[in-house]
Amino acid sequence: MNAPAKTKVPTMNTIQTVNLALDEAMELDPNVILLGEDIADGQEGGIVGVTKGLSSKYGTARVRSTPISEQAIIGAAIGAAIVGMRPVAEIMLMNFTTVAMDMIVNHAAKLRYMSGGQTHVPLTIRTMTGAGFGTGGQHADYLEAWFAHTAGMKVVAPSSPADAYGLMLSCIFDDDPCLFIENMPTYWNPGAMPEAGKRIPLGKANVVREGSDVTVISYSRIFNDCAAVAAKLAGEGISVELIDLRTISPLDQATLLKSVAKTRRAVVVHEAVRNFGVGAEIAALLHEHLFGDLKSPVQRVGANHSPVPFSKTLEMAFVPQQSTIEAAIRRALG
């Protein structure tokens, strides 16, 4: 018997989908501008090529390579945003946001409130991070808890190329400052094609897999490890409800509470260090609302409370692995 002809399913990676979202937004609205180190084509369109082609298409007035000056980058983006532009500022690596914290936290996040609503800052900050590349202690941290703790901004962390596209479009056209976290080691992983023009709403979590025994809540790259573990456990008859937050702040409390009210067990998983993290906030929320209904304490999985180490052996031990996630789920199941 002849084998059926293979039809190749088209895919895109996150570099391509974010590029596509930026391209479409720039096409749609002349107020969309891009700022960041090395982002124009003369500098190779960004260090991983996310902005490749955009300066050639829209010009270097709108797609600007900047000095290595994170405060000046975010400051310029804020100033342009409060007079109606929609800047997308790239802070190459999440650790470099530390250099611009005053601009992000004291200004971008607070100007709407401090001005009594007279101004607002429709700014998107793109940044990449994640362990796995051996970049050590200052290039791979997940710092989302700092920003989620800051009133006045939105924190978004997609787990797939298609989600990155839809969430990026929503961030650009949102009227608040959005921090958009891209995972560096998985930029090149192919995924399903995004639906053209479809924006994914901010502040809404995605119930990716329905289940009845335990809810696993995660976001960004490590969500995919959770999905793999859930698929494995399904083979043993363990039914995992899998939630991808997509937006960390504002947190979709309703979806989380509804799911855990049903499963009565929960595990929160992130790549950021475990202590004082987003997982602690979610665990507290679940305990506050569902204490009497829970069959076991909410489990938290996060990275080791240390800087990201360089040596591969240590780096692997730092980041939660699928085995760690699986063990936490089994603890929750009791």
Binding site: I33, A61, R62, R64, T66, P67, S69, Q71, A72, I74, G75, A76, A77, I78, G79, A80, A81, I82, V83, G84, M85, P87, D102, M103, N106, H107, L111, R112, Y113, M114, S115, G116, G117, Q118, T119, H120, A151, G152, K154, D174, D175, D176, G203, P250
Partner: protein
């Protein structure tokens, strides 16, 4: 002051009106705060009136400013209505920012006051962005960043000046050098002989002028604003001045040199400029009428601020995000 000045009389009187408005508003702010009727941290700009007054006559409402916590003079000179300013300082619902910003965060886009920051050095990077938007849109607007001498030692100053120069942004950096960064003397904290020397490193014109001389400020600002409007890039103006009431209201000034403040106050720029105008032929009665109108405006503003309601508690969680919290 240069007696050869070719500035027309209407502009000179306009500069004086703005200086007198600042001086008289400041006198009243301090009195009202001292009385306890308004409780607010207050950073008096008294002594620095000439700088924003003479800069602002070169600007329109279309032009932007970013200023800092010692910025009441910059706001009044740019045209923020007294009533709204007073109500904001009083924390009332009728203030520019509904009482949610306070004196360190006054915002009034109608008059071009886009950001007031309480963080030293942070006015400059944001002014760049306002200028960037104007440049990309092909508008002729100019952005002015006000800051103090202390701010020229923070990283944001250097990042902002470099970026503005590389991109030839229509921005004017106005340093109000009052000789002290908080309680520390200029010489103890600043390596440059004068702050305008730092412009050289960023390949932009830099000038140091007597910030208490309205004509010197006017001329420098006029040139810098024209350069910015013509697309020729930024300028750094260092305007040397002195603050009469220390860092924050209630300051004991113990860190100052003996007699330094008294000497500066003896050269108060407001009465000096007034005398110069009268000597030059401006009618005493014209200035008196203008001062009387200012006093009336302030009386109304104080009454408005004190009588206005405090913000509704529902305001606590509005304006955090575009969508209200659920």
């Amino acid at each position: 002051m240069n007696p050869e000045s070719k500035v027309d009389k209407a502009t000179l009187v306009d500069i004086y009106r703005r200086m007198a408005l600042i001086q008289r508003s400041d006198d009243r702010f301090r009195a009202v705060i001292k009385s306890g009727k308004i409780v607010a941290p207050y950073y008096s700009p008294r002594g620095q009136e000439a700088i924003p007054a003479a800069v602002s006559v070169n600007l329109t409402h279309e032009d932007y400013i970013c200023t800092i916590y010692r910025g009441i003079h910059d706001m009044l000179a740019k045209g923020v209505p007294s009533k709204l300013l007073w109500a904001e300082i009083a924390g009332k619902a009728t203030g520019t920012c509904k009482g949610k910003g306070g004196p360190m965060h006054i915002t009034h886009p109608e008059s071009g006051v886009m950001v007031t920051t309480g963080i030293v050095g942070s006015s400059m990077p944001i002014a760049n962005g306002l200028a960037l938007a104007a440049q990309i849109r092909g508008e002729k607007r100019v952005a002015v960043a006000y800051f103090g001498d202390g701010a020229s030692n923070i990283g944001a100053f250097h990042e902002a000046l470099n970026m503005a120069s590389v991109w030839k942004l229509p921005v004017v950096f106005v340093c109000q050098n009052n000789g002290y960064g908080e309680h520390t003397r200029y010489e103890l904290a600043t390596s440059a002989k004068q702050i305008s020397d730092r412009a050289i490193g960023y390949q932009m014109p830099g000038v140091t002028i007597d910030g208490n001389d309205p004509l010197a400020v006017y001329a420098a600002a006029r040139e810098a604003v024209a350069r910015a409007r013509a697309g020729e890039g930024p300028t750094l103006i260092e305007a040397k001045t002195f603050r009469f009431h220390g860092h924050v209201f209630g300051d004991a000034d113990a860190y100052m040199g003996k007699g330094e403040k008294e000497a500066a106050m003896a050269r108060d720029p407001v009465p000096l400029f007034r005398s110069w105008l009268v000597e030059g032929g401006v009618a005493e009665a014209e200035l008196a009428a203008l001062e009387s109108a200012i006093d009336h405006e302030i009386d109304e503003a104080v009454a408005f601020a004190l009588e206005s309601p405090v913000p509704d508690l529902a305001e606590l969680s509005t304006d955090v995000l575009a969508e209200e919290a659920v």
